[in-house]
């Protein structure tokens, strides 16, 4: 815990805006070369956390170290170690792609030639060479996001922070961004990314930290989070929608939690920790009850289900204690 092996080390981070407690004691550690996905709904505190990590916002309490430097006592060293790409894509629309990147390079302290060379290299890498002399204002959303990402990499930073890198992108743009993050990992860069998309967190991160209303409510690998949900889900597709209520009563005795009913798909879904044997018993009970089942499935929960259970539906705070899953704090 802590020390040099954790490139990002956050302990007890709090931040309030007026009376609103945006962050209520966040703990995070990211080992070198890892990708941490910070997952949460809108307003959970993801962007506030990112802004503190990148020295844009002073924390009220707690300790925040990035690449071994404290954000409060040595913000300059933190800035030299990070690259930030924001959800707002702060590219200058009046400048060309090349001018945008060259400017960032100059402001990292490179001389003209170094900055120009680095800008050209990044434009090639991000497949923007053809449009490098066009103004960024004429770029598509995906191209603009790639340019913003490239801006974060100009100084080959140890830590790259990506705030909702795919929000507002079309599927193609999202795939592009995922590819870029994967290449960062190959280079050994430590990445912290925020997202509202479970699929994205699952696909890109070594560790997922779920935050809601300014607190960490779960952490672990995508697999560990799914395990935490009580292992598996049982789905039953009924022949008659009219049987759903009765069937839910029966199935509830063999799973845990209240079965979810999807009337349109005539489907019941309930969690279980006993897998196959619970499924067998539930099916037998349904048969005794005269309910005709056309399809069954025993499967692992989707991350959406994990997320909804953790954050509580309709925005209620979840009363699940923060589980400590896996080896990562």
């Amino acid at each position: 815990m802590g020390g040099d092996d954790h490139v990002i080390d956050v302990e007890g981070l709090t931040k309030s805006f007026g009376g609103h407690r945006a962050l209520r004691g966040i703990d995070l550690t990211v080992p070198r070369g890892h990708v941490l996905g910070l997952l949460g709904p809108n307003g959970a505190g993801k962007t506030t956390t990112v802004r503190v990590l990148t020295t844009l916002l002073r924390p009220d309490g707690g300790r925040v170290r990035v690449a071994g430097h404290d954000v409060l006592s040595d913000p300059g060293a933190v800035r030299r170690s990070i690259g930030l790409s924001g959800q707002y894509a702060a590219v200058d629309e009046k400048l060309t792609g090349f001018e945008n990147l060259r400017m960032v390079g100059r402001l990292y302290g490179m001389n003209r030639a170094q900055a120009a060379e680095r800008a050209r290299a990044l434009l090639r890498r991000f497949r923007l060479s053809d449009v490098s002399d066009q103004r960024a204002g004429a770029y598509s959303g995906g191209m603009r996001r790639r340019l913003d990402l490239a801006g974060a990499l100009v100084a080959r930073p140890e830590v790259v922070v990506l705030d909702e890198p795919t929000t507002g992108l079309d599927p193609r743009g999202r795939m592009d961004t995922w590819e870029i993050v994967s290449t960062l990992v190959e280079d050994g860069t430590t990445v912290l990314l925020t997202t509202q998309y479970l699929e994205e967190a699952d696909r890109l991160s070594d560790t997922i930290v779920v935050i809601d209303q300014g607190s960490v409510i779960a952490r672990g690998s995508a697999d560990a989070l799914k395990e935490h949900m009580g292992g598996a889900r049982m789905d039953f597709v009924l022949a008659e929608a009219a049987d759903l209520e009765a069937a839910a009563g029966i199935v509830a005795d063999h799973g845990h939690g209240r079965p979810e009913i999807d009337a349109g798909a005539r489907t019941l879904s309930v969690g279980t920790s006993e897998g196959q044997s619970a499924m067998t018993r539930a099916l037998a009970a349904l048969e005794r009850g005269g309910i005709s089942v056309v399809e069954v499935a025993l499967r692992r929960p989707t991350l959406d289900e994990v997320f909804l259970e953790l954050t509580g539906q309709d925005g209620r705070p979840a009363d699940v204690p923060a589980p400590q899953v896996g080896g990562v704090r």
Binding site: F17, T54, T55, L56, L57, R58, G76, R79, R80, I82, L84, G86, Y88, A89, A90, D92, K94, L95, E99, M103, V104, R106, L107, Y108, G109, R135, G151
Partner: protein, 266 residues
């Protein structure tokens, strides 16, 4: 020393970016051009007729220089507020660059707009009978003094932007104070005719000093009918214009920088 070199270099990078933005935004210079033309025409021909005609028009241009450059501080306010609102300033703040460069780069690049306004005002002046009657050294000193004053008022605009935080607020805050400061001065009228409290304000108003200094340096005598003030600021207009501009920078540069550094506490 290294810090200073870095600050100047970073300010240059920021100023270059701002200038590219201005050049590539058709229309961004329009008000910098139209405003002086409008004021010249308004004062020379609407008010000027009752204030001394041709003689007044020659006197007027020094006042327009001062007033136009003062008004240009609102360009700084709006430009910087725009960068704040668009996230450009956040981009700068996440970089290991000089902290003052974001503001210094802006106040430096806005000198380009001010230079353009100066040229336009001078051309309007020449068209209505204003003439420069002094030698090259006085003219150069006059231009330098005017640009120094423009640079100084730009820092007030920067402070306004960093206080206002939104473009709309910066726009209105950046304008309200300009009218009293520009008009309670000797830029367009004789301050001797003002009631005592306003006269004292006008006498020490840097706008008065800049207007008077530029008339002195370009060789434009006031109309016989306009009683000219006496007293230290009037008699040492060039010196006082330079000193008061330096004082504006000494006050507003630290205030603006402080505001900038406080952004992270929000």
């Amino acid at each position: 020393m290294n810090v200073l070199v870095r600050s100047v270099g970073d300010s240059g990078v920021v100023a270059h970016r701002n200038l590219l933005n201005v050049l590539r935004t058709p229309g961004s210079m329009v008000s910098g051009v139209i405003q002086p033309v409008m004021f010249v025409l308004l004062l020379a021909f609407v008010f000027g007729g009752s204030l001394g005609g041709a003689e007044y028009r020659e006197f007027l241009i020094g006042g327009i220089f001062a007033q136009t450059l003062l008004f240009n501080s609102s360009f700084t306010a709006v430009g910087l507020a725009n960068d704040l609102q668009k996230g450009i300033v956040d981009r700068y703040r996440s970089l290991p660059m000089s902290r003052i460069a974001v503001i210094l780069g802006r106040t430096l690049s806005d000198l380009a707009t001010s230079s353009l306004s100066l040229v336009v005002t001078a051309l309007c002046g020449l068209a209505i009978g204003w003439r420069v009657t002094t030698g090259a050294s006085e003219v150069l000193l006059g231009v330098a003094l005017l640009l120094f004053f423009a640079f100084a008022t730009s820092w007030i605009g920067a402070f306004v932007a960093l206080t206002a935080r939104s473009v709309e607020v910066a726009q209105s805050l950046g304008l309200v104070w300009l009218f009293p400061v520009a008009f309670v001065s000797g830029a367009f009228v004789s301050i001797e005719a003002m009631p005592a409290p306003l006269r004292v304000f006008a006498e020490w108003n840097p706008v008065t000093a800049v207007a008077t200094a530029s008339r002195e340096l370009f060789g434009n005598a006031p109309p016989a009918g306009l009683a000219q003030p006496t007293g230290w600021p009037a008699e040492n207009a060039v010196l006082y214009a330079a000193l008061s501009s330096a004082a504006i920078i000494a006050v507003f540069a630290p205030l603006a920088l402080r505001r900038y550094l406080l952004i992270s506490a929000r």
